[in-house]
């Protein structure tokens, strides 16, 4: 089995974000799925994860935050 594309310690990655404010680690070579944009990178895997850890401070989806704060 080939190594998982999300587990390559030497790989180049992106931090993606969607409309709900959810983040995803993403290999830089792969097409970015619809609904997602690049929030950070290209950079190392750890740098992308560090960015996510620092910036994704409220893990509730945006739609929930909006619905409950009206």
């Amino acid at each position: 089995m080939s190594s998982n594309p999300f587990e390559d310690p030497e790989g180049v990655y992106l931090a993606l974000i969607n409309d709900e404010g959810q983040y995803s680690l993403w290999p830089a070579w792969s097409e970015i799925p619809a609904g997602w944009t690049v929030a950070f990178g290209e950079d190392s895997r750890q740098a992308c994860l560090d960015h996510i850890e620092a910036n994704w401070t409220d893990m509730r989806p945006n739609s929930l935050i909006r619905a409950t704060e009206q």
């Binding site: 089995m1 080939s2 190594s3 998982n4 594309p5 999300f6 587990e7 931090a15 993606l16 969607n18 959810q22 983040y23 995803s24 680690l25 993403w26 290999p27 830089a28 070579w29 792969s30 097409e31 970015i32 799925p33 619809a34 609904g35 997602w36 994860l49 560090d50 996510i52 850890e53 910036n55 994704w56 401070t57 893990m59 509730r60 989806p61 739609s63 929930l64 619905a67 409950t68």
Partner: protein, 1182 residues
């Protein structure tokens, strides 16, 4: 003049063909390559014969035959003359037909006598064959793309073959055979020489997702041309050089023979053929021993021929593969700059089937998808308030009653500050309160955090701190550190009318619960599941008959989600099982008593029930099972015994809300394990390769899950969430499971393996990395690696800490099922070439014991004997006998073997001293306490230790030695004594009754420990004696802190398996007779006298004690014991209607906590079960 012109060695390919020809004479000769030319017109036979003879005369290789020398080396003999028959008969002489002689395996065989037969793994068979031709346009475009980049057609063929193989195997690094001409340009005349020079060599291709098609081909061509100088090497030379075995099992060949294609195409007949003779057609037949071989013939329309062994690759599959090859060649022609990761190698039809048809409707009808748990429940309570919601032995709650109780608790929680998403910890024994509490928390909007009662206190505290739960709902004094407000549900309920539904705005996206699982980063991770995930699970159409569902899984495992919410949110009934672990026989009673219609049972327990009472499930509409690799045999048994019951095989990680896929098991006739099926309603399953593309059916890939039921993520762990819950190419997010699966041809998922190191032991999901992190926290540990062997966790440690100390250290923070069963010290961990721990190279537990080397002859002898008895390669002088897995039988063998070498040691000394060093030292001591040969009434198995001692009472045979197996698992701190029958030391003694034995032992007990608290345990008949001792102690006003009964039943005949215990003891000295005393004594007499420890006298005593024990056990009338009982049921071999732990109820005032251990009565203290029993005893001591 000799008939022979020359004797030559074989070329590499000839060697290979020779091998295959000799391998099986009877098999069809698959290397008989024929080219049949159909000639029309008047054939000048003498001219053809003359031409053929000249050809054969000119080329020595066409006159060759093959023979094996006396020494076994094959040689080719070049004959001076060879006649070519032309006509209609079969050839009979060396050279054979007008073919490439070297390929003529039949000719080879003709000259071979019987000789040494090489062995081979595969039998060549005549291959199947599928063909395709590119059209002229595509052929032309491909040629111009290749020409523009100076790429050869051969490179393109090898490149697309590599892509196809990668897809088939799920790998990004592939090797296959490529055929080279074997005509080195520096050899004069090489191009014009007639004969077979080709050679098949390994081609290795590594694929990088970001590389373009053209980039791949250019790199491949460059790598291959660097190897050109080595093309003459035989495959076996290469295998020798690189030290690998079988290198590849597929191959490609570009058949660019210099045929005049114009003639073959029939365009210019006159060009090279005599007038009047027309070449009407040509057809070839070739064969291969490879499962797959691709031959490509250039031309105006590129021809592809895929030879396949039909026994490995069926025809339909070969057709699909060839289709994909054509697609790939088309992709090269269309856009050579396309990165490999964007290449879609599946056809549109295949994609539709895999992504859509096999995933069911994308938005299935999920009734009440916008609902919350509270709103879905309220709807049910409104519609049928009097329906039964929760029921158990002795209680029943209607929907209205449950609603009222949950509302009351919800208001209390809200009063304590619980708001939407507030974590609320729950630590409850199984009871209706579990349902009331979880519903109340859902009504308040909070997220329940169930805590497993077997967690060590440190782990409970850690979970409380990690969630920051401000409230803990429980039915006990918590017993661990926390900062939460405690709500006790075991307090009386006020009589005032229940308050109404609390008015809380709960959103379907709000969290419903957090369940912790093992984490590879060293700390557990909390899976945060939303309200809508629970509602979606409950709404699945598969649960139609799940009206009365058994709740028996621990609350802290996500099976409880199904067990609580599927019935409650569908208007059904939660049937609450009594607390404690359920054994196979408990299920039958519950099924009948509560008219159950469905239940979930873990794989391990399912297998146990299937083995012992497969008809248990017959009254159910459906039984669900899953969690570990399923046993097809167990499923077959249950299907056969319960033909009316549906059997659902379920699969799912906690992250996808309990169940993600489902397979209705109808027939289990197919070989291998049953599939895990297809995605549940609203959920989608994708099997993707390393480039994140769907793999074709049959190819392994990693399973990703998307859609309804996908949890929000890991509580408070954004980075961890972002690496597991990732963007989905088909919309939204997907969870990567780490499970390697494949699609079957009919669209069912089949589980293959884990992609990472996660393991399951006894159904528990475990990350070895978490255990490694915990062990690394000990100051004496330098390096550590944890692996699983034979379903046991092994820790390999570099450092200074003792094994038992490390296990105890681990037990303070890890649940019992995560504490390694063995700790093996190493000087260094083995590493792979790139510096990672080489887990495959870690020694097996039975090869590693690393104490210091022996220094004296006595130590040396004892170390050698230890190793011999324990089955280890070596044992150090300071390694403990029991730490390395020694047991009572091992003690007997050790003492016997030592006696043969003139070393006098007693079993008692082995128990007391444990190491070769200490036993050797004893040899030199002038006054030694040999005890009574290990037959004394109170045998100290370990006299030291700070904890209150544990006293174990002998089973029917009278020896207490089997309890020695507890030593290594209870730890060095735990003193352990075993009572043994008086008859062992006083052969004429006959115990009058169980109570007399108890009083006899009590007297001795009080000498060692004058006052309580006492801890007592007894296996089999020993349980009766321990019970009698406990009764007596209580009546004298002493405290009995523990009474543990190991598969011991009052008022029963002693299980006749006792005799097996005797046989087992005797088998240590190679006795394998029936166990009758006369026979045993006869055996010993024949053997002579080396068995000082197990002499005739002892055996007679053992036997007599057993016989007498049967009698007095039947006579024993137990009195009432004031206190609780820890009971261990040997779950195997239990018959319906047989005795159970409940038989003790009349003789015990407190609770009977029954634990099931998967073992027979007779082997309860064998290595596996004894570890589990020790864990239970230890837990109860703490």
């Amino acid at each position: 003049m000799s008939q022979l012109e020359d004797i030559l060695p074989l070329s590499p390919l000839q060697q290979g063909l020779f091998f295959h020809a000799v391998f099986d004479e009877a098999a069809p000769d698959v290397y008989t390559a024929q080219l049949v030319l159909e000639l029309e017109g008047a054939l000048d036979v003498p001219a053809l014969r003359d031409a053929a003879c000249r050809l054969v005369h000119r080329h020595a290789n066409l006159r060759a035959s093959f023979r094996q020398r006396a020494g076994g080396d094959p040689v080719q003999l070049v004959h001076r003359r060879a006649e070519i028959p032309v006509g209609f008969h079969q050839p009979s002489h060396p050279a054979g037909r007008l073919v490439d002689t070297a390929a003529g395996g039949r000719a080879v065989r003709a000259v071979l006598g019987p000789g040494a037969r090489p062995r081979a793994a595969r039998t060549p068979v005549n291959p199947g064959c599928v063909r395709a031709r590119l059209d002229e346009d595509l052929t032309g475009r491909l040629a111009s793309v290749l020409r523009a980049r100076s790429l050869t057609l051969n490179t393109a063929v090898q490149g697309v073959w590599a892509l196809l193989l990668a897809q088939l195997t799920g790998r990004d690094d592939v090797v296959f055979g490529g055929t080279v001409s074997g005509r080195p340009p520096e050899l004069p005349g090489a191009e014009r020489m007639i004969g077979l020079f080709i050679n098949t060599l390994p081609v290795r291709v590594r694929l990088h997702p970001a590389e373009t098609l053209a980039g791949l081909l250019e790199r491949l061509q460059a790598e291959q041309s660097e190897l050109f100088a080595h093309h003459h090497l035989g495959l076996s030379d290469i295998q020798r050089a690189c030290g690998l075995g079988r290198l590849f099992d597929t191959m490609t060949v570009l058949e660019n023979y210099p045929l005049d294609t114009a003639i073959l195409n029939g365009r210019s007949m006159e060009a090279g053929v005599e007038a009047g003779l027309r070449l009407a057609g040509a057809s070839g037949s070739d064969a291969t021993h490879y499962p797959l071989a691709l031959a490509v013939v250039p031309g105006e329309r590129l021809s592809l021929r895929l030879d396949h062994r039909p026994d490995v690759v069926p025809h339909a599959e070969a057709v699909r593969l060839l289709d994909r090859l054509v697609l790939l060649l088309g992709a090269v022609a269309a856009d050579p700059e396309l990165p490999l990761a964007r290449l879609d190698p599946l056809s549109a039809d295949e994609l539709v089937r895999i992504l859509d048809e096999w995933n069911g409707p994308e938005s299935p009808p999920v009734p009440g998808a916008a609902a919350t748990i509270a709103s879905a429940f309220a709807e049910r309570a409104r519609r049928a308030p009097d329906a039964e919601a929760v029921v158990g032995d002795g209680f029943s709650l209607s929907y209205a009653e449950l609603d009222g109780r949950a509302n009351r608790l919800a208001h209390r929680l809200i009063g304590l500050g619980v708001r939407p998403e507030t974590p609320v910890a729950v630590l409850l024994d199984r009871s209706a309160d579990v349902v009331v509490t979880t519903l109340a928390i859902a009504k308040a909007g909070g997220a329940y955090v169930p805590i497993h009662h077997s967690y060590p206190p440190d782990r409970m505290s850690w979970v409380m701190a990690d969630t920051g739960a401000p409230v803990l709902v429980t039915d006990r004094t918590p017993g661990f550190e926390h900062a939460a407000e405690v709500v006790r549900v075991d307090e009386p309920v006020p009589a005032d009318p229940a308050p109404p539904e609390p008015r809380v705005e709960v959103h379907p996206e709000h969290l419903a619960y957090v369940i912790y699982t093992s984490g590879s980063t060293g700390t557990p991770k909390g899976v945060a599941v939303r309200q809508c995930d629970v509602v979606a699970l409950a709404a699945d159409r598969r649960w139609e008959w799940h009206r009365r569902v058994l709740m028996h899984s621990p609350h802290a495992f996500d099976a409880s989600t199904y067990e609580i919410w599927v019935p409650l949110l569908r208007g059904g009934t939660v049937v609450v099982a009594p607390p404690g672990d359920l054994g196979p026989d408990a299920f039958a009673g519950l099924v009948a008593r509560h008219r159950l219609t469905a239940l979930f049972i873990t794989t391990a327990l399912f297998n146990l029930v299937a083995e012992e009472a497969p008809g248990t499930f017959a009254p159910l509409a459906e039984v669900l099972t899953g969690g570990e690799a399923a046993s097809a045999a167990a499923m077959r048994r249950v299907r056969a015994a319960c033909p009316q019951t549906l059997l659902g095989h379920v699969y799912g990680p906690t992250e996808a809300t309990t169940y993600a896929t489902y397979h209705p098991v109808s027939t289990v006739s197919r070989a291998g394990t049953p599939p895990i099926g297809r995605a549940m309603d609203g959920m989608r399953a994708y099997v993707l390769d390393g480039f994140l593309r769907p793999v074709p059916p049959g190819a392994p890939g990693e399973l990703y899950l998307a859609g309804a039921g996908l949890a929000r993520g890991y509580l408070g762990r954004p980075a961890l969430t972002a690496e597991r819950f990732v963007a989905c190419p088909y919309g939204g997010r997907m969870y990567r499971t780490g499970d390697v699966v494949r699609w079957s041809a009919d669209g069912e998922l089949e589980y293959l393996a884990r992609a990472d190191r996660q393991v399951k032991i006894r159904g528990f999901r475990i990350e070895p990395a978490e255990i490694e992190a915990a062990l690394a926290g000990h100051p004496g540990v330098v390096q550590v690696a944890v692996t699983v062997r034979d379903r046991r966790l092994l820790a390999y440690v570099v450092g200074t800490v003792a094994a038992e100390e490390l296990r105890r250290f681990a037990g303070r923070t890890l649940p019992e099922y995560m504490v390694p069963s063995s700790v093996i010290g190493l000087d260094a961990l083995p590493l792979t070439p790139n510096g990672k721990v080489d887990r495959a190279a870690l020694p097996s537990a039975l090869a590693a014991a690393v104490g210091r080397d022996p220094r004296t002859p006595e130590e040396e002898s004892l170390c050698r004997l230890f190793a011999q008895v324990l089955g280890l390669e070596r044992v150090g002088a300071d390694d403990g006998f029991f730490d390395l897995g020694g047991d009572s039988i091992g003690v007997i063998r050790l003492v016997s073997l030592a006696a043969r070498e003139g070393l006098v040691i007693s079993p008692r000394e082995v128990f007391a001293r444990q190491t070769a060093e200490a036993l050797a030292r004893a040899q030199g001591e002038s006054t030694r306490d040999l005890g009574e040969g290990g037959l004394e009434m109170l045998l100290p198995l370990r006299a030291s230790g700070s904890r209150p001692p544990l006293f174990c009472v002998h089973p029917g045979a009278g020896l207490g030695w089997p309890y020695a197996g507890l030593l290594r698992h209870l730890g060095p701190d735990q003193p352990l004594y075993a009572f043994q029958a008086r008859v062992l030391a006083e052969p004429d003694y006959v115990a009058p009754s169980i109570e007399a034995m108890a009083l006899d032992y009590l007297e001795r007990l009080l000498q060692v420990r004058p006052h309580g608290p006492y801890r007592l345990a007894g296996w089999s008949m020993g349980g009766l004696i321990a019970h009698a001792m406990a009764v007596e102690l209580r009546e004298r006003g002493e405290e009995v802190a523990l009474l543990a009964l190991l598969d011991s039943y009052p008022g029963q005949e002693i299980n006749s398996d006792e005799r097996d215990v005797l046989v087992e003891l005797l088998s240590a000295i190679d006795y394998d007779g029936p166990g009758e005393i006369g026979d045993v004594v006869e055996f010993l007499r024949e053997q002579g006298g080396p068995y000082a420890t197990l002499d005739e006298r002892t055996l007679t005593a053992v036997y007599r004690n057993y016989r007498n024990g049967v009698k007095i056990s039947e006579e024993y009338a137990p009195r009432m014991f004031e206190g609780d009982v820890l009971f261990v049921t040997a779950a195997h071999g239990h018959e319906e209607g047989g005795p159970t732990a409940a038989d003790w109820k009349p003789y015990v005032t407190g609770a009977i906590h029954d634990h099931q251990v998967a073992c027979d009565h007779a082997n309860m203290l064998s290595p596996g079960p004894v570890a589990e029993i020790a864990a239970l005893l230890r837990e109860d001591t703490e």
